[in-house]
Symmetry: C2
Subunit: 381 residues, 2 copies
Amino acid sequence: MKKILVLGSTGSIGINTLEIARTFPDKLKIIGLSVNNNIDLLQKQISEFHPCAVAVRDKKSAAELKVRIGNSCEILIGDEGLLELTRCNNYDILLSALVGFAGLAPTIEAIKLKKRIALANKETLVTAGEIIIDLCKKYGAELIPVDSEHSAIFQSLIGENKNNIKKIILTASGGPFLNKNKSELENVTIKDALNHPNWKMGNKITIDSATMMNKGLEVIEAFWLFNLPKEKIEVLIHPQSVIHSMVEFCDGSIKAQLSLPDMKLPILFAISFPERYYFDTINTDFKKINQLTFFEPDFDKFECLKTAYKVIEEGGTAPCILNAANEIAVEKFLSGKIKFTQIPEIIDEALNGVAVKFNADLQTIIECDSATREYLNKKLN
Amino acid sequence: MKKILVLGSTGSIGINTLEIARTFPDKLKIIGLSVNNNIDLLQKQISEFHPCAVAVRDKKSAAELKVRIGNSCEILIGDEGLLELTRCNNYDILLSALVGFAGLAPTIEAIKLKKRIALANKETLVTAGEIIIDLCKKYGAELIPVDSEHSAIFQSLIGENKNNIKKIILTASGGPFLNKNKSELENVTIKDALNHPNWKMGNKITIDSATMMNKGLEVIEAFWLFNLPKEKIEVLIHPQSVIHSMVEFCDGSIKAQLSLPDMKLPILFAISFPERYYFDTINTDFKKINQLTFFEPDFDKFECLKTAYKVIEEGGTAPCILNAANEIAVEKFLSGKIKFTQIPEIIDEALNGVAVKFNADLQTIIECDSATREYLNKKLN
């Protein structure tokens, strides 16, 4: 039995992870769950999966859950409770599906316990890639990506020598605004931006797909995960999201991983690897898919993607500033306070206004994240 | 240095192999060459690559070559000369690119010497799959496919557990007659049939592509190479020949190998594996490729493909009969003696008229091949 701790169990990745656990009751056991404040769904998950403990970030929700379920399951509270949950040593795999910067600290706890990290939280590597990769090496923790793109690259590299990579090709659906021109982006609505053509995901990541910042974050993630210079990381628009990504080797041969888009596949792989479990849910029929198309990304229209390459070049805490600024900007867009096209502007403003630090330790990164948020909140309010 | 013996050095695969040897003079050494009768080209190859010995099947051509080059290189003659060449123990890799049934006997010699077999000759596995696979196991010889499709499957399986294969998907360009309907095939010319949209190959294999017998032979090859029931071998029309083939695993994940169509890639891979050499010739740009399409094969129009699945079912020497009949039929079509649509008819005639033998040894297979040829030559002349 593989014992799994799911952080962010009521989000899209968390729900898919529990569906997988439901499919393999003889192979997988849910040990713990964490949520922000959705205790209604958490309560159902507790009664189905009987975890040893759960963490609820919002204190009021935690108290309410305590009233509802009593002592049937240990309830840990707040950020400290989440860390305590990851510090308990009774699991094999940490499935980190928290949203945003909050994913960083608990992931580090699991790395120190030498756990397998099934990483769905992009911000962990974007903000603290160097620290995370170094810690994984130091403690011998396994880091397996859950993003469909990085999972595809990971799978394409199985049994291959990483020194033979010529480049990796991250595919991108292009999001809902692929066929809009730059000036049309001025007036898109929240509803337009949340209408992703292929993937059903949380709001933050769906907006990131619309700006293509999501792909930018993935470029930064790939930079750390696969230890490649940014020149070897290419983005290719592929609207059908069937080829999840590709690796081109030094001999000119390309390997790819494909399927109909469904997050259950990369989640299952991150759990089952190096095995593959028999899973009959996703049946990809190329005769029905009929065609796959490819285009060059428009870096002029999707400025966030261009900015992501720029912060890799800059190094230090620049990706951390980009990430914090993007979280703030997306929040403001989702609450109707700014226009869609202001998202890249706000990110640029932060990158120009907040000082980049080099050789940063975790504390410096946490401070840089806070400094960026403070800077923008002062500027924007 | 890897020492290579190239059988069929003046054919399309042979020429490409020598181009690769030319590219990697510090890694690859050509030890021997064999041809049918094209001594003009062979003479050039000898003066460039300085092999220890060459085999010339046609006796008159061998004598003529002897006059031209004297004792500068040992010349072996006829079928026996070819076997003698493969029996010399001074090479690491046998690149078998002979056309047709003639490829079988020399391959067996190389297997007995525990050499790596880079197999471009389809008929070896089609006619004697069971014997070849058993001999490879017995002698510990490596069999690496050079067909782009089987190379793609082989590459997709690197580091994977073969028990996890759900199915393999052999892609097929569909050949020059993909968009003709069945009745239009009645009157196609030799020139039409030789006009392959993607691949520049020898005449025999180009006609096999037009009838889709080529794909049928590949299905039989895959049956032996990957030890899969025919139900797990699917054919998918993919006119651009960029996805060279795919493997679907038990979890629903699919892996594929891709590139612009160029035989140099699978040849290089069969030589360099498990390494990959830096080779800058084939640069696949998906932004230029723009789209990949997929269709179900029309088994009614391409009867040869249907027949290939049927002979796997039948077993024994049925694939050997199919192969011999196809060689005869293609020969007759290329010499203008029959219509294109008579090719599958002739194959059916042989399969109905020649007795299938089971548990066949090599002698039985050779006799079955001869019996089929005699039967058809009697019937057709």
